[in-house]
């Protein structure tokens, strides 16, 4: 079994388990069932990667994590659950892309490099998220507005950069 497939299975299960445990802690059994349902959803999405199923699964998992976080489930589990869903979504596309590749050194190299980058992204993201939980900042309303404006501006610039790179 290829490494990407193993990681996909791990990410999918981890995402569902984290969300289910998070909901179970607060006794939200409907949330537990919904979180467990995402697993067959991911399996189906892996079968039809060209459809909208992968995106639907990712958005559903994030929506569950946000709901859980707002209803008092442990935030750390919800964050890990959504990050694992991101990994599952990414690995699903990686698997679909490499299906037609002949197995060889270059395919293995491509897969390894992709997994390294994914690990770097998720590792740094989760680290930042957990470090963030240690910080307790009190921001005034004006500062909040400024931060929103900055965030929107930043996102717009990032999006502009992405578009520019694609046009090249």
């Amino acid at each position: 079994m290829a490494l990407r497939k193993k990681f996909f299975a791990v990410s999918m299960v981890l995402s569902a388990v984290c969300l289910a445990v998070g909901f179970a802690v607060t006794g939200q059994w409907f949330g537990v069932v919904t979180a467990m349902i995402t697993c067959p959803g991911w399996v189906l999405a892996r079968k039809y990667p060209a459809s909208s199923l992968p995106l639907i699964c990712l958005l559903a998992t994030i929506a569950l994590a946000v709901t859980g976080s707002l209803t008092g489930s442990p935030a750390s589990l919800m964050i890990i659950g959504s990050a694992a869903a991101l990994a599952a979504w990414d690995l699903l596309f990686l698997d679909a892309a490499l299906v037609s590749n002949s197995p060889g050194e270059q395919t293995r190299q491509f897969e390894t490099k992709h997994l390294q980058s994914l690990a770097l992204a998720l590792g740094s993201g989760l680290l930042a998220a957990f470090l963030g939980s240690l910080l307790h900042l009190r921001i005034s309303f004006v500062m909040l507005i400024l931060f929103i404006a900055l965030a929107v501006f930043g996102l717009e610039r990032v999006w502009g950069y992405v578009k520019k790179m694609e046009k090249r």
Binding site: L58, I62, I79, N101, T107, F110, K113, L122, G125, V158
Partner: protein
């Protein structure tokens, strides 16, 4: 376009909005892995000015059991100093049937490394050419892709399959004054005795008829032999969309192309001068010529021939430039015909051409696929009558007509028709 950055951007933005509305820091933190994913992708995206690649395309044609297969090899080398992640993509052209390999491949190339994309395709016939290889260079996560076209030329021609025909003894109206195989009904050098005439100064002594000379004192007589010359042949292939019929993967036009190639090969092999005109939406020609070079030219022209929708004057076979063939040449038209096409044959006769029509039967071709109910049977009968009338109309112009059922061999029909045409002339 890759929609990964868009999805990530939307998720990050939505989480940010929700976090701000609910003033919940946990949701804001939930956004961070997605932001990091997007950031890692952007940071690892290679800069286009630093990307340098070398590309090469190799095409090898093999033929086994009459089936032509082409093995294509695409090599891309990373000439930049950085490691690059790329997707090589090959374009499929009309008529190509991929039998082995894949048309796309992801690879990670370190500096100086190269990767290969191999695939095999078959095609009945065609002219395939490529100018470039399309690649997408991206970050390892495949977020931001840069499309590049690397110059790598490749061209291959799959020629129509030829069925070898035996030589047919032609008796055309006129011959070209070049040594060939057709008795020209002219005295000169040859093998068959033609007649005797009075000696002219300069005649070789070995051709003197000594017996006749002995009987006529003070007179000399020379034996003449029948000159053997070549014929001038023009082939007209009808490539109009309205005269083609396609059932599944089979096409009536492909049968016509095969027939034209076989006839051209047979006539050129006999030493005749052959020209070709393919008449469809556009016209392609191989001007009259001899020998193997001309056969290559004609096969090249046929391999490129395709059925095209006719517009305006191209809808009428009558408008073809028949003057590209020398007058009194033998013109063989390969077409399943329209009603209005009779005018062409009238014109051919008026200009003094000797003509032959090879008309593949579309009714017989489509028959196996038609339902055998009463209405279809009546329709087929009516169409057969209409076609028979059309062909009879042309036959009335003293033009031999071959009603060719494509499942039957063409050679005996052509042989009979060309032999009969000699009789008609006499």
């Amino acid at each position: 376009m890759n929609n990964k950055p868009l999805v990530m951007g939307l998720i990050v933005f939505s989480l940010l909005i929700v976090a701000l509305i609910t003033r919940d820091g946990d949701i804001a933190r939930m956004m961070l892995p997605f932001l990091a994913y997007l950031g890692v992708g952007i940071l690892q995206t290679p800069r286009q000015e630093k990307l340098r690649f070398g590309a090469k395309r190799t095409l090898v044609q093999t033929r086994s059991d009459g089936i032509v297969s082409i093995h294509a090899n695409l090599t891309v080398q990373n000439k930049a100093l950085e490691t690059v992640h790329l997707f090589i993509h090959e374009t499929v052209q009309a008529g190509m049937k991929i039998t082995d390999g894949e048309l796309g491949q992801w690879a990670t190339l370190r500096s100086g490394e190269s990767t290969e994309l191999n695939y095999t395709f078959t095609a009945a016939r065609g002219d395939f050419s490529w100018n470039s290889i399309r690649i997408l260079a991206s970050d390892p996560l495949g977020l931001i892709e840069t499309e590049m076209l690397l110059p790598a030329n490749g061209m291959i021609q799959i020629r129509p399959r030829i069925k070898k025909f035996k030589a047919i003894p032609l008796r055309p109206h006129t011959t070209l004054h070049s040594p060939g195989s057709i008795p020209a009904r002219l005295g000169g050098t040859g093998t068959d005795f033609f007649g005797v005439r009075e000696y002219h100064s300069g005649d070789p002594l070995r051709s003197l008829d000594w017996r006749l000379t002995a009987r006529h004192p003070r007179k000399f007589f020379t034996k003449e032999f029948e000159q053997e010359e070549i014929a001038e042949i023009g082939l007209i292939l009808d490539a109009r969309e309205s005269t083609d019929l396609r059932i599944g993967e089979e096409s009536l036009f492909e049968h016509c192309v095969g027939a034209t190639a076989s006839l051209a090969e047979m006539f050129l092999h006999q030493g005749h001068r052959v020209g070709l005109l393919v008449f469809g939406g556009t016209m392609s020609t191989a001007f009259p010529g001899y020998g193997k070079t001309q056969l290559h030219r004609i096969l090249g022209c046929l391999s490129k021939a395709k059925v095209e929708k006719e517009i305006g004057a191209a809808a009428y076979l009558n408008f073809i430039p028949i003057r590209m063939f020398p007058s009194r040449a033998l013109i063989i038209v390969i077409s399943s015909l329209f009603s209005a096409d009779r005018l062409l044959f009238q014109r051919l006769r008026a200009y003094g051409y000797q003509a032959l029509l090879v008309s593949p039967d579309p009714i017989d071709f489509a028959y196996p696929t038609l339902a055998q109910d009463i209405s279809n049977r009546l329709a087929i009968r009516a169409t057969r009558v209409e076609r028979r009338l059309k062909l009879n109309n042309i036959a009335q112009l003293q033009i031999p007509v071959i009603d060719w059922q494509v499942s039957q061999p063409l050679f005996p029909l052509v042989r009979n028709a060309l032999t009969r045409s000699r009789g008609q002339r006499e």
